[in-house]
């Protein structure tokens, strides 16, 4: 079995490598389709590999040669299993989507080469068995994603978005390298399994430094606040399937890194590590959704929503670490399972939503919610698929987002079991913040679905959107996956329980799934519900209104006049809510947070009604850019300016430097 898992992983890697090479032939439709097919096959292999690895609980190790830094070794650890399965699912869905989305041309060829290699690099990150392999794979993946974002590099905003991505990715990478360097030097080994075994003996100060560096470094990739500013800049400008890959998978690699450090390499850390992680997560969740509500570009909105969901996942991870540190290992393992489950869920529905955003952009010509409307009539099947994704991400029953958020809340509400009252209160505060996030998310996604799809079209192109030749299979696959992840939650959770057993060392299967397919949060006396039966129940009681209608409908002939609209002449699109106005209550309530700059211009000073057009512009203040990044970059520039005289260009000065260094070297060597 272990060999089968390894073979599947190698097969997936090989398929993606082949897809990359075939992608170079995507200047013709044949090449495009062939590359997509191989990419999809690789995706399927990835899914099976991930599932088998999770269920089986151990995977093979493969070592490749020895180089100056010890060569590369690859090890399939159970913790990576959900991520590998998600990678496969995302790759498969995008493979079904790409042939309809891309045009066969040279830009697409380069893009597909880069994309498939990025899939390969992501797989390599997940199966890396030693520090060198991890770092090389990580940086390769980051550079390939940078090239991915630059697909349409001549369009406005693309270069800046890609630059922000790579700049922050490099800062994070620096921190990750430092974290690994600390661990490698203190344990004397580059192999991850050996580091995990010996990490308990490292001095506490080094361990803390390593963990904090890892949290921040991987937080840059994951998109935790305040490391998130690249997400809303880079996601909208990448092609739709590129954004889907970034948001569906790449940011989860940051989560994988945090989980790797928190549960595998440095387990048993003090409670405050978990609380700090939880704090980052909860704040990211709330700020993510608050900023999302102010966006009317669909993809920027989805990018902020990704920040929110990453916040939820990291909150679960942090809470899990906290509970474990205070002896509640069962709840700790439960919350790890929640984090992994939400990772898979979010990967599924966020990928779906980004792919659909691409469909909408192609069909209606714009991503601006204020220019869309009525798409449910023009793009009916897209609307249904998008509705499934929206209901899932808004955490509404019976879909998978609801199940994972319910489980998260049940885990957080058990904070009273912790002996430290302060930490218990902090956990409850985190729960309250996540609850606020949940409510705002429902508002945000009602807006994100209602404004573009319902009502009347607000612009000409939206009124003429067409669904012909738009990709449906990829998003439909993901919608089906959402439903399966919800109805089949007991199955998925059983697999994740095996992962948690292998990672955290504790088996809570009997305290997770009880008879009648019910999920309980690690304690039998707390709460429980069955996702499967809930879905069936909701389906069954939807019969009741149908029966009431059939029993009570009028028997006589009835007349069907138009909807009563108050007697106005005609209903015009401009009378509808826009995305901006729908979010107004939130804008007004959280104004001290947004600190908006509002500009109102009238065409003339005549009284209202005769003054001509009034222009209203509202801008959220970019707090992090202004108060964190700009001062830091100015500091860096100041320091660089101070150091500039050293590089005067004067050869004589350089010779002086050489002379001084040689003298010092002699002096040091002589003693």
């Amino acid at each position: 079995m272990s060999h089968a898992i390894g073979a599947l992983a190698i097969a997936a890697a090989g398929a993606w490598l082949a897809a990359a090479i075939l992608g170079l032939g995507a200047t013709r439709r044949v090449g495009l389709v062939a590359s997509a097919v191989l990419s999809g096959v690789g995706g399927g292999g990835g899914v099976v590999c991930g599932v088998l690895l999770a269920v089986h609980g151990a995977g093979p190790t493969l070592t490749l040669g020895a180089g100056p830094v010890g060569g590369a070794s690859f090890h399939l650890a159970p913790l990576a299993a959900p991520f590998i399965a998600l990678l496969g699912l995302v790759a498969g869905a995008i493979a079904l989507y790409a042939p309809w989305y891309h045009e066969p041309e040279s830009g697409t060829a380069v893009y597909l080469l880069v994309y498939n290699l990025a899939l390969l690099a992501s797989l390599a990150v997940l199966i890396a068995g030693n520090v060198v392999a991890f770092l090389v794979a990580w940086e390769t993946m980051a550079l390939l994603c940078y090239l991915l974002i630059l697909r349409h590099h001549t369009r406005p905003g693309v270069a800046q978005g890609a630059f922000l991505f790579i700049a922050l990715s490099e800062i994070g990478f620096l921190m990750i390298v430092l974290a690994f360097a600390i661990l490698a030097t203190q344990t004397g080994s580059l192999d991850l399994a050996t580091i995990a075994a010996r990490a308990g003996h490292i001095h506490a100060g080094w361990r803390t430094a390593a963990y904090l560096l890892a949290l921040c470094g991987f937080g840059f990739k994951a998109g935790l606040v305040p490391f998130h500013i690249w997400l809303p800049a880079a996601h909208p400008v990448a092609p739709a399937d590129g954004s889907a890959f970034l948001s569906g998978l790449v940011i989860k690699l940051g989560v994988y890194g945090i989980a790797l450090f928190g549960f595998t390499l440095l387990p048993g850390g003090p409670g405050w590590w978990g609380v700090a992680t939880m704090g980052f997560g909860a704040i990211s969740a709330v700020l993510g959704i608050l900023y999302a509500l102010m966006e009317h570009d669909l993809k920027r909105f989805l990018a902020f929503s990704s920040i929110e969901n990453i916040g939820i996942i990291v909150t679960a991870l942090g809470a899990g670490m906290t509970f474990t540190a205070y002896g509640q290992r069962a709840i700790g393992a439960f919350l790890l399972i929640v984090a992994l489950y939400h990772t898979i869920n979010h990967g599924t529905y966020k990928t779906l939503l980004f792919l659909e955003a691409g469909v909408i952009e192609h069909a209606a010509g714009t991503r601006d919610m204020d220019r869309l409307g009525g798409l449910i009539h023009r793009l009916p099947r897209t609307a249904v698929i998008c509705l499934i994704g929206t209901v899932a991400i808004a955490a509404l029953p019976p879909l998978n987002g609801f199940v994972s958020e319910w489980m998260l809340f049940q885990g957080l509400f058990q904070g009273f079991r912790i002996s430290s009252h302060l930490v218990g209160i902090l956990i409850v505060i985190a729960g309250a913040l996540i609850a606020l996030t949940g409510g705002l998310a429902i508002n945000a996604f009602a807006r994100a679905y209602g404004i573009p799809f319902l009502g009347m079209p607000r612009s000409g192109p939206a009124a003429h959107a067409s669904e012909t030749r738009q990709p449906l299979a990829g998003p439909a696959l993901l919608a089906g996956a959402c439903v399966f992840l919800a109805l089949g939650a007991p199955l998925v959770l059983t697999a994740l329980d095996r992962v948690a057993r292998a990672t955290a060392g504790i088996d809570i299967h009997s305290k997770l799934i009880v008879p009648k397919l019910t999920v309980i949060p690690a304690h039998t006396d707390f709460s429980g519900f069955s996702p499967t039966y809930l879905a069936l129940f909701l389906l069954a009681i939807s019969v009741v209104p149908i029966l009431i209608f059939l029993a009570g409908r009028p028997r006589a002939r009835s007349r069907r006049p138009p909807v009563w609209d108050g007697g106005i002449l005609e209903f015009r699109p401009r009378m509808q809510y826009t995305a901006t106005t729908f979010a107004n209550p939130v804008r007004v309530t959280f104004e001290p947070l947004y600190r908006p700059s509002v500009h109102i211009e009238r065409a003339s000073d005549d009284p209202a009604g005769r003054s001509g057009p009034v222009h209203y512009r509202f801008e959220v203040m970019p707090i992090f850019e202004r108060y964190l990044y700009r001062p830091l970059t100015r500091l860096a520039q100041t320091l660089a300016n101070l150091a500039r005289p050293i590089q005067s260009g004067d050869v004589n000065l350089y010779l002086l430097y050489l002379f001084v260094v040689v003298v010092i070297a002699y002096a040091v060597y002589a003693t």
């Binding site: 007349r559 006049p561 138009p562 009563w564 609209d565 007697g567 002449l569």
Partner: protein
């Protein structure tokens, strides 16, 4: 009145007893009224508003005001049917489910104040079929109550037997 209206009202006279009984059975003691203003001076509206006040209290008779024509049984139309309000009036009429009753209230609605021209029809019965006419400028709330009760058949009309001749007392 247009010729078609004359024919129609002649037919209604034959049926009026039967119609009254059927309408009374349909609405009985619960009637929802929706007022439509087609360009009045709003004094008729003040009198209509007084109906809900404690002094006249139309609720004790089972009458209620409703803003939605969908819920209405009776349309109370004021104003001389300004042409700009055609859309509004016809939409409200369409939106009111059958069976419905239309009463025209006030001298404007009865054709007494404005002649028909390019801005105004002049009388509501040039736009909609009117069942009961309530004269007055404005009709007092008591007159409105009588009009409503006649419309649902709980009171008999008195104006046909009314005499304005104080000497002979014969009805004109």
């Amino acid at each position: 009145m247009p010729a078609s209206e004359l024919e129609r009202s002649a037919g209604l006279d034959e049926l009026s007893g039967e119609l009254r009984r059927r309408v009374a059975r349909a609405f009985g003691r619960s009637l929802h009224i929706r007022t439509v203003d087609t360009g009045s001076c709003a004094v008729c509206e003040s009198e209509i508003r007084l109906l809900a006040a404690p002094h006249y209290d139309l609720h004790r008779l089972g009458f209620f005001f409703t803003p939605a024509p969908r819920h209405a049984d009776l349309l109370m139309v004021t104003g001389p049917a300004v042409r700009a309000a055609d859309n509004l009036l016809l939409k409200a009429y369409d939106a009111t489910p059958d069976p419905k009753v239309v009463i025209a209230v006030g001298a404007c609605a009865l054709g007494g104040v404005y002649p028909g021209d390019e801005l105004v029809h002049g009388a509501v019965d040039r736009v909609l079929p009117v069942d009961v006419f309530v004269p007055g400028c404005p009709p007092s709330p008591l007159a409105l109550l009588q009009g409503l009760l006649v419309a649902v058949g709980r009171l008999e009309e008195r104006v046909s037997t009314l005499s304005l001749d104080l000497d002979t007392g014969s009805a004109g």
